[in-house]
Amino acid sequence: MKESLKPGERAFSLFLLALTLWEISEAVKMCLKKPGLSSYGALPLGLGIIMLICLLKIIFVEDLKKISEKRTMSKTVLDAIAFAFPKDIAIFIGMMLIYFIALLFGIGFMISTPIFLFVSMCYMMPHENTKNALFTVILVVAIYVIFKLIFKVTLP
């Protein structure tokens, strides 16, 4: 049975192809600055060529063998986003990034971590807020005792 092309699969391969072409152009610039096989751009250039060959095989041989549904442009984009970043995953990544930014802005690990844990648990497991709160407290205390007190690890 023929395999189906996943939504956004070709777009992702093309994105990687664009990145690879950019990488090759940068490596060529390095090789022009310092020519020769021992140039600091020689290995990146070689790797770029390997990546390019692989991607060309993926796009023009492997992907073409797969069954692809005929869709309008807007539906293709929407399906690709829904496949790669379903609602739950997109929201969780968003929460993760907010947590990282909170750490960067100096809110502090011991404040931002319980908030991140509780909010993300409540999002993924609604109707169990008491258990989520209990789990958050246990986890934060365990992290503090194990990492800060026993392992002497500096927390963010």
């Binding site: 310092k34 021992s38 692989c54 095989k57 993926i58 379903p86 969780f92 990282f100 991140f116 500096t154």
Partner: protein, 503 residues
């Protein structure tokens, strides 16, 4: 040799091995958490420790995790780790018949046997390979690294092109930063953070930890299956009956584990396949709860632990993803695994061997106890597990350099690896590429400089050397062979041959 007694002279090492095995078993028993992830996290916390203590803990986790995946494979039909995929084929049918305890007991005993055979193989083979590896030239190391990347990129992946792309991407990521010879910057965009290069531990935490956590969200709503498990210790007759299969599968495990990039998952699948071919009359057919279907993969995947450590310690090439992480940890501790390791720090080798041996004893103890904890752990909902993994990855990525940008890089790698996994790009080759990148670059430069200073030029030294040196020739042959056996033409020829045989 006095290092063999070290864990007995320093009980803290014994304690760390025990803790490692315990943590390894229970981490790998939780679907979605792997030994690689646990060891990656550990590297960031233990870099300041005494190297012996860090090794004891890492080896314990490695061995424990190689076994732990079987528990959720038996109880839930979800392999806790890739090495337990084959275990689920017969383990789960046994659990459905109400014999989960028996299945878990058999897998424990077989894992211990396999682990001990792997340890013996490590002790006997590593010194010989290490002596032989001293004859390797820079060209051979370059070929060896490519062989590792080629194998990890092609074995077990649906698309060889995606595997090799991932491996090349990993090596490229390892090239970011200042060139070691010229000091010129590559892909840094003038950013001082990128000048020392991408931190391999941060990359590993993102690629293995964060990405897996994000991926697990997809299954957060799956119902939890509760299991009832009572008796676990198997009878002696069962063990005796399958001893031959245990030894056969353990040897397969050691051999496959020692191949750079292959690892326990492939070893277990090959051993399972081999058992199906060699066991003529199993009590129950394979796939329906055959004990032989547990014996083969479980002894093979733990024997592969010792096997995977052989190329890591003697050649500086990791046998699988976990040994890639352990290799990174040894670099952080200022050690240089490779053929000179035996000569410069022989104690370290013997310490690893004894830690692995002892970890098998702890595996027996923890494997036959704590069934209730296992059943509770595998029931932890993903909704609570995922945020916990992210927080641990944040702590791990920050702990190394105390730099919050590392946390963002970890997250970035996590998202990239998640998307790659969604579109079937394997992640292990990328990690191996990052780890091997400095070795590839160093040996490549040595080969080129040698060629440039030789009147015969590049063709006369490197290319001619490939065909005149027996070591290079063998390595080149393996690279070509591993490429050919994955090709469409070879597979078509193999199918035709199999059809002819059946006729």
């Amino acid at each position: 040799m006095e290092y063999l007694l070290l864990p007995f002279q320093q009980p803290v090492l014994l304690l760390l091995i025990a803790v490692g095995v315990f943590v390894g078993i229970y981490v790998a028993a939780i679907p979605g958490l792997t030994g690689t992830m646990a060891v990656s996290l550990l590297v960031s916390f233990t870099y300041g420790w005494n190297v012996n203590a860090a090794i004891a803990l890492m080896i314990g986790i490695f061995n424990g995790a190689s076994y732990g995946g079987s528990r959720s494979a038996i109880l839930l039909n979800i392999p806790g780790a890739p090495a337990a995929v084959a275990t689920a084929l017969d383990g789960y049918p046994l659990a459905q018949k109400g014999e989960a305890g028996k299945a878990m007991g058999v897998s424990t005993i077989q894992s211990v046997f396999g682990g001990l055979i792997g340890t013996v193989a490590l002790v006997l083979c590593a010194p010989l390979i290490s002596k032989f590896a001293l004859k390797f030239a820079a060209r051979d190391y370059l070929l060896l690294a490519f062989m590792g990347l080629m194998l990890v990129g092609s074995l077990g992946n649906r698309s060889i092109a995606k595997g090799i792309f991932s491996a090349a991407l990993g090596v490229l990521l390892g090239c970011v930063g200042m060139d070691v010879m010229t000091g010129l910057q590559r892909f840094t965009f003038g950013n001082t953070y990128l000048m020392p290069g991408i931190n391999s531990v941060v990359a590993m935490l993102g690629l293995f930890g964060a990405s897996e956590a994000i991926l697990q969200i997809r299954t957060k709503d799956l119902p939890i299956i509760k299991q009832k498990v009572d008796k676990i210790i198997p009878n002696l007759e069962t063990v005796k009956k399958h001893l031959r299969l245990t030894i056969q599968s353990s040897f397969i495990g050691v051999l496959i584990g020692a191949l750079p990039g292959a690892g326990g998952s492939i070893a277990a699948l090959i051993a399972y396949d081999q058992a199906k071919r060699t066991v003529k009359k199993p009590e129950v057919p394979f796939g329906e709860g055959a004990i032989e279907g547990l014996v083969a993969p479980e002894s093979a995947n733990n024997a592969a632990v010792g096997g995977a450590l052989i190329p890591m310690l003697t050649l500086g090439i990791p046998g699988d993803a976990v040994t890639a992480v352990i290799l990174g940890a040894l670099f952080i501790h200022g050690l240089q695994p490779g053929p000179t390791l035996m000569a410069t720090t022989p104690g370290l080798f013997y310490l690893i061997c004894i830690c692995l041996g002892i970890s098998n004893i702890f595996l027996l103890v923890f494997g036959l106890t704590g069934i209730k904890i296992t059943t509770k752990l595998v029931e932890i909902p993903r909704g609570r597990l995922v945020p916990m993994i992210i927080v641990l990855s944040v702590i791990g990525s920050y702990a190394l350099n105390k730099n919050l940008y590392d946390v963002f890089w970890m997250g970035g790698f996590g998202i990239l690896a998640y998307i790659m996994k969604r579109y079937d790009y394997p992640i292990a080759p990328a990690v191996l590429g990052i780890i091997l990148s400095s070795m590839i670059e160093k040996n490549y430069k040595m080969v080129v400089i040698l060629a440039e200073t030789n009147p015969a030029g590049f063709m006369g030294t490197f290319v001619a050397g490939l065909f005149t040196s027996p070591i290079s020739l063998v390595l080149l042959f393996i690279i070509i062979f591993s490429f050919v056996v994955q090709s469409r033409w070879y597979k078509e020829w193999q199918n035709k041959r199999d059809k002819k045989r059946q006729m």
